[in-house]
């Protein structure tokens, strides 16, 4: 069994009108099967309202399944005795950088998780130092979070999670409110954690450029997994992605358009380098 596994996970919530009468039931997550292996970088894509955030909140035991089950490192999230172990092993980073930083000084915020876990004082300091170094924010440790940029704040949030020594990190649209530079910073930090520290990463996003390096991609729509595969497999289905309110990087789109006009190109081109090589090849072939 992988480190994160869901089995026919269903989550429903009841909609009520102003008087509190039941209006209907919304199925936010609909029979999702997920299996993430240790050390993997998995991306979950989906438009706003596709159920991807609701899914993520199950892995940290913030929400509980209506039907089906979720296991984190073999622990069922519905077992109350494992709750704090699950939250420590599956750390979570949220969308809004302002609304998840608790401390008034960077280092104090990073220490918040270990404090809650009852880690001895000396070890908290060690953990804070190593976590801030891992995301490249050590020189800002004495800063007030209000003085940081969005990308820096998110890196602090990531450090706050790493300080809890989790086995996997779930990032719920960590870049949605950032500018392109901030987005790059955060994605770079996340990739380094996966590559260097071997932490399993589950990245939820709707920016396609961020998932090119993922091992596996799940695309969600209306609470269901609509597509899954490697980034290349996913990106080769441009039309289907568009139907799911998503897009592809410009280079993939251009390759797709050229292919439609009869140029002989491989499917699922992801980088500028790949496209230029393929076009060079196509040009020679035509001569």
């Amino acid at each position: 069994m992988g480190i994160i596994k869901t089995d026919r996970l269903v989550f429903e919530y009841i909609r009520r009108d102003e008087e509190g009468n039941v209006e209907g039931i919304t199925r936010a997550v609909d029979e999702v099967d997920l299996d993430v292996k240790k050390g993997e970088f998995v991306a979950i894509l989906g438009h706003n309202g596709s159920g991807k955030s609701t899914l993520a909140k199950h892995i940290n035991a913030i929400l509980y399944p209506t039907e089906g089950s979720v296991w984190v490192d073999g622990m069922d999230t519905r077992e109350e005795k494992d709750l704090w172990n699950i939250r420590q092993e599956a750390g979570m980073v949220f969308q809004n950088p302002d609304n998840q930083i608790i401390g008034q000084v960077v280092e104090e915020d990073v220490g918040f998780g270990p404090e809650n876990m009852g880690v001895p004082t000396d070890e908290i300091w060690e953990r804070v130092e190593e976590s801030l170094k891992a995301v490249g924010m050590y020189q800002y440790r004495k800063f007030s979070p209000n003085k940081l940029s969005g990308g820096q704040k998110q890196r602090v949030s990531i450090a706050g999670v790493i300080a809890m020594h989790p086995k996997c990190i779930i990032l719920d649209e960590p870049t949605a409110m950032l500018d392109p530079n901030g987005r790059r910073e955060v994605v770079r930090a996340v990739r380094a954690l996966n590559d260097v520290e071997g932490i399993t990463v589950l990245l939820i996003t709707h920016y396609m450029e961020e998932i090119i390096h993922a091992d596996k991609v799940f695309v969600m729509d209306k609470g269901k997994v609509a597509m899954q595969g490697t980034p290349r497999e996913i990106f080769s289905q441009v039309e289907k992605l568009k139907q799911l309110r998503l897009d592809v990087p410009q280079v993939t789109l251009l390759a797709h358009e050229l292919k439609k006009s009869g140029v002989d190109l491989p499917a699922g081109i992801l980088t500028v380098e790949e496209l230029t090589q393929a076009l060079e090849h196509a040009q020679k072939y035509r001569h």
Partner: protein
Amino acid sequence: MSIILDHVNYIYGSDTSLAVHALKDINLVIPDGQFIGLIGHTGSGKSTLVQHLNGLIKPSNGNIYFNGEDIHAQDYNKKKLRSKVGLVFQYPEHQLFEIDVFSDVCFGPKNLGLSRQETELRAYAALKQVGLEDDYFYQSPFDLSGGQKRRVAIAGVLAMKPEILVLDEPTAGLDPKGRDEILDQIAKLKEETGITVILVSHSMEDVAKYVERIIVMNQGAVMLDDIPREVFKHYKELEEVGLAAPQVTYIMQALSKKGMPVRTDVTTIAEAKDEILRVLGSGR
């Protein structure tokens, strides 16, 4: 009908040691009917600049003229200015407050002292302009989806019938489809009404498809001001200040380096496709 910024400087916290020179000697002419992209990374001064356009911020020195009149003159009617220069802030859905969508959109025209009939007509027209279906008009704005809320907020500004519409990152936080829908709607509005639109963004890809002029801000100063094609030629300088040209520019540059005789100054996917097909075709 135009806005002229004449040597505009803005310094905040000037009486403390932490003074920040947020705008440095800005000179710009914004003529009628242009579709302008205002680009810069966070902290480049673009948000400060747009708040000068409708008099929300007063320049530390320099003048701003709207239709030839100094907007900071003693007897100038600021309220009227704000109806003529509509400013849609970042995450504008955070300003919604009324019990239903329609009343919220009425807020602007009502403040202008218009009759009830005129107010409602304008609100209705504005909601139609942003493409919101009638079913939502009497729902609470807080029950709508993110993209719908944003449309309502934009309609709230449109209902004031501005001659110049300034949008500060109108697509932030939306998914790709939501982003395209909003931008398409704005482009359509521009086409139908001929108003001036200033689109603030940090994404070149987003604006390249729509605008006819790009103003690039860096460290409080105007760094580039030209048609997109010319601006993207400076892609190396753009990178130095933390911006980037659209990915197509890089594709064309890379192809050109490999010896393919393509034009490198294309700005959109459609252009790039035609250009590559032209070169591939002629090689046959």
